[in-house]
C-alpha cells in the first residue's frame, strides 16, 4: 500500500457508460490480488477532492499492467475519463483483502450486477489461471452495459446475461438461472458483487446448498487505509455484531456474515 503515480497506457470508452483504463504497474512493486482495490486521484484538483475506490479489473503480471473498468457516474469518474494516455494517474494501493480461492475447487459461481463485474473479472482471471471453471451470471440495465462479459468469456467463463432492457433481470428469474446452473455444475463456492437484492438471493441459496460464498462490498470512503472509520459495515459474528472497515477488513467478506442493510 502506497501512493504512486503510474503512467496511463490507455483510457477508452468501452460502452455507453463504461470506461477502461490500463496503467503501467512496473513501478508499483507490490502484488495485487483479485478483490483488492486502489484509491485513485481522479484529477489534481480540490474538487473532485477525495480519491475514488476502484477494484482491480485485470492483473497482467507479465506485461506489468493493471486494468480498471469504471462506470462514469459523477464528477470523479468524469474527470478520470479526461486523463490522456501518457499522463500519470495517482493511485494508492493495493488496498484491502481479496477473494479466497482454493486450488482444489473445480467450479465457482460469479454473480455480478453492473460494475460489480469489474471486481469479479479479476477473480475469473485468477480462476482461469488456476484451472478453475467459472460460471457467471451478469446482470445490468442494458446489453450495452454488459460489454465486459467478453473479458469473462475470454477467461473461459460460461456466462449468463440478464438485463432490465430485456426484462430478464428480476430476482426470481436469476434464482431460476442459478438453480439451473447448480443442477448442472458442482459449484464449490460463490461470489457476488454490485447488488443488494442479488446478494440477499445468493445468501439464501448458499445457505441451503451449504457452500461458502463471498461478497465484495462498496461503501463511501475517506482514507481507504483504515483510519477514518467512514466505510464501516456490520458482520454478524458469534459474539454479536462486529463493525468492520470495508477498506481494511474488506472489501471482500464472507457472505453469510455480512449484515446487508
Amino acid at each position: 500500500m502506497k501512493a504512486v503515480r503510474l503512467q496511463v497506457i490507455s483510457n477508452k470508452q468501452v460502452s455507453q457508460r463504461y470506461w477502461h483504463m490500463v496503467v503501467d504497474s512496473s513501478l508499483l512493486g507490490e502484488t495485487v490480488m483479485p478483490g483488492q482495490f486502489f484509491h485513485i486521484r481522479c484529477a489534481d484538483e480540490y474538487y473532485p477532492f477525495l480519491r475514488r475506490p476502484l477494484s482491480i479489473y485485470r492483473i497482467n503480471k507479465r506485461e506489468q499492467t493493471l486494468e480498471f473498468l469504471y462506470l462514469v457516474k459523477g464528477l470523479g469518474t468524469k474527470r478520470m475519463t479526461e486523463i490522456a494516455p501518457g499522463a500519470e494517474v495517482d493511485v494508492f494501493g493495493p488496498l484491502g483483502k481479496g477473494f479466497t480461492l482454493h486450488d482444489s475447487w473445480d467450479t465457482i459461481l460469479l454473480l455480478a450486477r453492473g460494475v460489480g463485474i469489474a471486481t469479479l473479472a479479476a477473480l475469473a482471471q485468477e480462476a482461469a489461471e488456476k484451472g478453475i471453471r467459472c460460471v457467471a451470471v451478469l446482470s445490468a440495465r442494458s446489453r450495452n452495459d454488459l460489454l465486459a462479459t467478453e473479458t469473462l468469456q475470454g477467461f473461459g467463463a460460461e456466462v449468463y446475461k440478464v438485463t432490465e432492457e430485456e426484462g430478464t433481470s428480476d430476482v426470481e428469474h436469476v434464482r431460476e438461472i442459478i438453480h439451473a446452473i447448480m443442477a448442472k455444475n458442482d459449484i464449490k463456492a460463490a461470489y457476488v458483487c454490485g447488488s443488494k437484492r442479488l446478494s440477499l438471493l445468493l445468501k439464501e441459496i448458499v445457505r441451503e446448498k451449504r457452500i461458502p460464498a463471498e461478497i465484495a462490498l462498496e461503501e463511501h470512503m475517506g482514507c481507504a487505509m483504515g483510519v477514518c472509520f467512514a466505510c464501516v459495515c456490520d458482520l454478524q459474528e458469534e459474539e454479536g455484531l462486529r463493525t468492520v472497515r470495508v477498506c481494511r477488513e474488506g472489501p471482500v467478506f464472507p457472505l453469510e456474515k455480512v449484515v446487508i442493510p
Binding site: 477532492f49 477525495l50 463511501h220 475517506g222 481507504a224 487505509m225 483510519v227 477514518c228 467512514a230 463493525t243
Partner: protein, 306 residues
C-alpha cells in the same frame, strides 16, 4: 555556510521536534505502512470515549467543493481497549502522544482524563469539547464559555500533564471560549474542529451523510480557521494548534503567521497519504528560502499595516 533550521516548538511543557502532527480522527495505526511516525511532531489517535460506541449510519463522508463532510460519530472501542491496546502500540515510537478525549459530561471528561493521563506514553491531553454535552440539550461544551471554563478547570484538577482544549468553530466569538479555557488553566488550544455542514443529493433528495449533518473539513474552511487562529492569538497567550484545511507547507506557514505554534493535518492525509512528511519538507524549504532559523520566529508574524 551551512545553517541549521530549528523546527522545535512547545505546547506548555510539551516539546515537539517539529510543529506537524495529525488531526484526531484522520490518523491511526494503519498509517504506519505509509509514513514513519517518528518523523512527526506528535501523534494524536482518534478521540476515545469511555464506553465502546458504534458510530453513525453510513454514508459517513461526502465530498464538497474543496472539502468533505464527515459524521463518523466517534466510533470507538472504549477506554478499556484504548488502555490495553492503543496506547501500548504507540510505545514503540519516540514521538510524543497526545490523547484526544471525548465525553458526554464534565465528570466523564475528568474521569477519563485522570485515567489516561496516568499512562506514561501519554504526553498531553486534547479535550474534544466540540462534542455534544448530553447534559446540556446536546449543545457542544465548547459552544459555551462558562461550560468550557468548568470543564477545563475540572480536568485541570486531575492532571498536571498539558491540557489542550480543542475548540469548536461553530460559535459567535471563539475568542470568548479561548479566554475561558485559558483562565481555567488550559496549556494550549486547538483551533479548531470541523464546521457543522450538510449536503443533499438532489436526485434522491436524501442528505449525503447518513446522520443528516456532519462536520466540514479541508481547504474550503481554511480561511475561516486562519481567521479564528488570528482572532484567538490577539486575545490569548496560549500556544495554538491550527487545524483545518492544511494541505501544503504554505498552508501550515500561513496558520503559524496567523498565530499558530503547531499545525494538525487531517483530511490531507486522505488525499495524499504522505502529506504530513511532504508538509515538513515544504516548511524546511520555506525556512531555507527566507533564512528562518527558528520556526518559532514566524509565529504570529503576519504583517498588519498600521
Amino acid at each position: 555556510m551551512s545553517v541549521t533550521f530549528n523546527l522545535e516548538v512547545s505546547i506548555g511543557k510539551l516539546r515537539l521536534k517539529n510543529p506537524i502532527m495529525p488531526a484526531s480522527g484522520a490518523f491511526g495505526e494503519d498509517m504506519e505502512e505509509v509514513i514513519d511516525f517518528n518523523r512527526l511532531g506528535a501523534v494524536v489517535p482518534k478521540s476515545i470515549t469511555k464506553y465502546p460506541r458504534r458510530g453513525n449510519a453510513t454514508p459517513r463522508v461526502c465530498e464538497t467543493p474543496a472539502g468533505m463532510i464527515n459524521s463518523i460519530g466517534i466510533q470507538s472501542k472504549g477506554l478499556e481497549y484504548y488502555l490495553a491496546k492503543t496506547l501500548p502500540y504507540y510505545t514503540k515510537y519516540e514521538t510524543p502522544l497526545i490523547s484526544s478525549i471525548s465525553a458526554d459530561s464534565i465528570d466523564e471528561f475528568a474521569e477519563m482524563a485522570e485515567i489516561i493521563a496516568r499512562e506514561e506514553v501519554v504526553k498531553a491531553l486534547e479535550l474534544n469539547i466540540s462534542c455534544p454535552n448530553l447534559k446540556g440539550n446536546g449543545v457542544a461544551f465548547g459552544m459555551d464559555a462558562d461550560i468550557t471554563h468548568q470543564l477545563i478547570r475540572k480536568v485541570r484538577t486531575v492532571t498536571d500533564k498539558p491540557i489542550i482544549a480543542k475548540l469548536t468553530p461553530n460559535v459567535t466569538r471563539i475568542q470568548d471560549i479561548a479566554i475561558a479555557a485559558e483562565e481555567a488553566g488550559a496549556d494550549g488550544l486547538n483551533v479548531a474542529n470541523t464546521i457543522l455542514a450538510m449536503a443533499i443529493d438532489v436526485h434522491t433528495r436524501k442528505p449525503k451523510i447518513g446522520n443528516v449533518m456532519g462536520g466540514i473539513s479541508g481547504p474550503a474552511i481554511k480561511p475561516i480557521i486562519v481567521r479564528m487562529i488570528y482572532q484567538v492569538h490577539q486575545v490569548c497567550k496560549l500556544p495554538i494548534i491550527g487545524c483545518g484545511g492544511v494541505m501544503t507547507g504554505e498552508d501550515a506557514i500561513e496558520m503559524m503567521l496567523a498565530g499558530a505554534t503547531a499545525v494538525q493535518v487531517g483530511t490531507a492525509n486522505f488525499i495524499n497519504p504522505t502529506a504530513m512528511l511532504d508538509i515538513l519538507e515544504e516548511i524546511k524549504a520555506y525556512m531555507k528560502t527566507y533564512q528562518i532559523q527558528n520556526i518559532t520566529d514566524i509565529i504570529g508574524q503576519v504583517k498588519i499595516d498600521a
